[in-house]
Structures are given as C-alpha cells and as structure tokens.
Amino acid sequence: MSLKISIIGGGVAGLCVARELVDRGADITLYERGDGVGKHACSWWAGGMLAPYCEGETAEDIVVQLGLKAADWWQKSVKKGIKSGQKGAEKAQKVQKNGTLVVSLARDHADLERFTRRTRCFTRVGADEIGRLEPDLKDRFSKGLFFESEAHLSPREVMTTLRELLVFEGVKFIRDEVEPELIAKDGLTIDCRGLAAKDSLADLRGVKGEMLMLSCLDVSISRPIRLLHPRIPIYIVPRGDGIYMLGATMIESSGGKYATARSVLELLSAAYALNPAFGEAEILEIGVDSRPAYPDNIPRLTRDGNIISINGLYRHGFLLAPAMAQMVAAHIFENKSLEMKHEYSA
C-alpha cells in the first residue's frame, strides 16, 4: 500500500511537491484554498523567469545553485502533460530557453557595471548584438548583458497543466482551508500555504509586489528583458501572442489589495523606455500580492512532528520550488536531512 501524504496549498510549492511525491508512488491529497489554479496563490502573479544567474545579483549563492536545474525540471514536468494529452499543455510547453537580456539606460550604466561584477555566465553585448537578439530594441541601448542559458515560462499555463496531470494521475484535490495540525493527526502533512502559514512561522513576512499584464501587438520581444534602474529594477516577460508581463515592485509590506498609482507609473514608464510603442499597449490586468519571505530571503524546510513546511520562497517560487520539492521527497523516502545544501540542485 502506498504512503498517504497530505499537502496543504495548491500554489507552485504545493504542486511541485505533489509532482515529486507522486513520482515516488505516494497517495496524495491536496487541500487548496481556491478552485484550482488561480488568483488566491501568489504564484499566479509570478514573472516565471528561470534566471538563477541574474537573481545572483542580490540573492545568496544557494538560490543560484538550487535554481540552476529548474528549467529542465519544468520542461520535463510539462512534457509529461503533453504526452498524456492534457489540454493547454501545448501552450504550456513553452518553457523557453532563450536567455535573459539585461540593459540599462545610458544614465544608469553604473548600475549595469555593478550587475556585471555581481553576476556570472553572461556575455557582454553591444548595440548590434542587442538589435540582433531583439530587433524591436535596436538602437535603443548601447550596452547590455546576455545570459544565454536562462529560461522563462508562463506560470498560469504551466501550473494548470501540472495540476491537470496530477488529477489524471490520481491526486485528490479538495477545496478547503484546513489547519495542518488537524490534518497531521492522520499522517504526514506538507504545509505549502505560503503567507497563510504566518501565524505558525514567526519569522515569515510579506513582501508586496505589483505587476501589469499588457497586450501590445506593435512590439515583439522574445525573451525576458531586465531594465536596470537605481531604484526599481524592472523586467518584462513575453507570454506570447503580444502579451507581456511587466513587473515587479518589491515593497516591505504584507498588505494591500491594490497597486499604487506611483508603482503603475514607474512600471509603465520603464516599458515606455524599452520601446515607446508600449505607450499604445492595453492594460489587461493590474496584479498585486505579497510574497512570503524569511529574514534572509532564503526559503526554509522545517519539520515539526508530522508536519513538514516549505515556505519563504520569496520572489523565487518557480525557480526554487522544484529543488525544494525534491528535498522533501528525499527526506520522506530516503530519510535525508531537510537542511538546505548546495549539492541539491534538482
């Protein structure tokens, strides 16, 4: 008889853990707050950049290390969905491995120099190369960095595909907000609730993020672009079909249902700086949510009796959830420690 495990939380962490545990033959029940993949999880608003080297500018080395194999993990997981004919899987197939381009306006070249010093695995690119990589940015930037090995995905499509595949494989999804302590009486429970677990995880805090979804058929960009800026580093991630995700602010605040006018202005003016044609873009969505983070902005795996909790993925949900999920699986099935180690890279 297979091991029964409950997972609480249907965001990116919960789904990745379910994937790893199902692969090891566990019998999974997953409790989710909302109806399927949706706005109740902060991963709904994620950028979906799998950019460990770029994140290394400010993130600790372990974040870079654990994130290195994320793109392969997602590609493999989504492919399974395509094979079993899950609808939407074709679109979600787009775990695109075509790199990240980092640029800055001339007045902020000092920030580009700093980014160069703090990161690795890139090539320096000039105006010609930038124009070749992204024709719609031609002649707009004289210097940049190209991180060729990085990738991106569409969070919503990918999570939907993953969830459908898990349903197909027999994972029971139950819509209910449950307390881990109650569920854990019946067996091993993985708490993947993110900020909702704040009451039991004292150090956890929220970091507010704001993002926009734009539709702009006049601009064609094929890979994530990071525009450096001394105060608000901004990125734009193509979702295909002229849709772009523009993010994201980082504000030390756990509340706020709404984006501020200032944040929206700053995000939009960055898009406009990339290409003035974004001025004609339609704003499809303004998204706001808080990411769960620990004081060192590094995720943690902890165990208290029958409850294992994964939390604090901060702005690195899609980048780190696969490695975290594998660590949980190795702990349960191979009795490995939950301590974060560098050698654990998916």
């Binding site: 703090r118 507010k208 504000i251 756990s254 706020g256 501020t260 060192d296 902005n297």
Partner: protein, 258 residues
Amino acid sequence: MMRKFYGTELSNGLMLGTAQYPSPAILADAFERSGAAVATVSLRRESGKDKAGQDFWEMIQRLGVRVLPNTAGCHTVKEAVTTAHMAREIFGTKWIKLEVIGEEDLLHPDVFGLVEAARILSEDGFEVFPYCTEDLVVADRLLNVGCEVLMPWGAPIGSGQGLNNLFGLRALRAHFSDVPLVIDAGLGLPSHAAQAMELGFDAVLLNTAVAKAGSPALMAEAFGLAVKAGQMAALADPMEKRDMAAPSTPVIGKAFLT
C-alpha cells in the same frame, strides 16, 4: 564634544538607512557590524495604511538603535506632513527626517517647501531633521522655524560622489558652530565619511553606499571605523595646511654629507 540632537547624545556619528539591502538579515548584520547609532526608515504611504509594513518595522525596532523616520520620496508639503504624522504614530518618536524633493534628476530638495513643512511640523511638536543644501540662508530660515539640527547634502542622493562643495560645507560649519550638522546623502566611500567628520560635522547619514556594496556588512563596518577615525581626528585638532615644506627636525647645524 559631540553636539546633542534635540537633547539626545548619540554614541557615535553614524546614521544608516534601511532601504535596498539584499535581505533584512543582511541589513541587521550591517547594523551590528557598523555600530550605527541611528536607523532611518522611509515610510511608503501604502505600508502605513493598516500597518501593512509592520513586520519590517518590528525588525528595525529590534535592531536596538534609535529610529529616525524619513519622509523620503515626498514632493509636496502636504505629503511630507502626512507622512510625518504617520511615522510618529508608528514609531512613537517625535524625530522626523524631512525630505521634500523638488527636482527629479538630482533629487534636489525643494527648499521653499522644506521650510514650510518644517514650520508646520515644528509647531506641531516634531523634532525635525531637514534634508537641505549647504545654502546659508535656507539654513537660517530652517533654524528660525524651529529646526535644531540641519542635514545638508554631500552630493545628490545615491550618487556616491562624496562632498561636492567643500567650501560651502565649511562655511556652513563655521557659520552655525552651535548647531548639530549631519552630512546626509551622496557619500560613496568611508573616506568621504571620515572627511565629513574631520570637517567637524556631527554625524553622517548614508544608505546606498552600504546597501549596494557587494558585502554590505563589511562596508558598514568600514564606515563605522571611518566615522570614528574622522571624529577622533576632529577632536585632536588637526594641523593647518601650509604652502611650503616644514621640516620636522632642525636643519640648522645639521652635518652635511659629502
């Protein structure tokens, strides 16, 4: 003797900002290693609403240093006054670093708005630390409306250029010899901080130079040492500069080597 800030004597002259660190844990480390006496915290209006920034502020308060809330990013008198009130409620302090920005490229203080906001807040019982330029007349006006501390810039915020107008800063120090003066903004290196202290300023306030360093905690410690060195040098009464060499041993009567 260090001048007092609204009656408060600080253990040293380092004031450190709390924005832009890679993580709160690194921020805490930077404070510990620098020994900074004061932490400035800027309040985003939105985080003030419903106290949504509570987690971060509690972390700042746990640093165990004096908190100086900041109206960073305010462009109008009204905005700055509202933010100051919010800060007083949240942090339970009368201290407020007053920033009213008038120009976007250099983040130049709007000195007219600054004087007006300082007057309103001083009358309301606040102890105002105004972010100003080295302009003597503006400084005088700020003192007239109730400020007892001045915070002239070293260079534009976040520029890391050090002390841009040495002449102006010296004049300010000489002109207001009883007023506590803090060099706020524009410092990039510990040597800039040491220089400010050597000139007789009472403290320096910086953020980006530490937060954006590759190792913020190490840079914070370096600034802590530099402030201390500069402060000691000022107390030691430095020698005067002169145009010609002055031999430190007598020349007359010295044996010539052939």
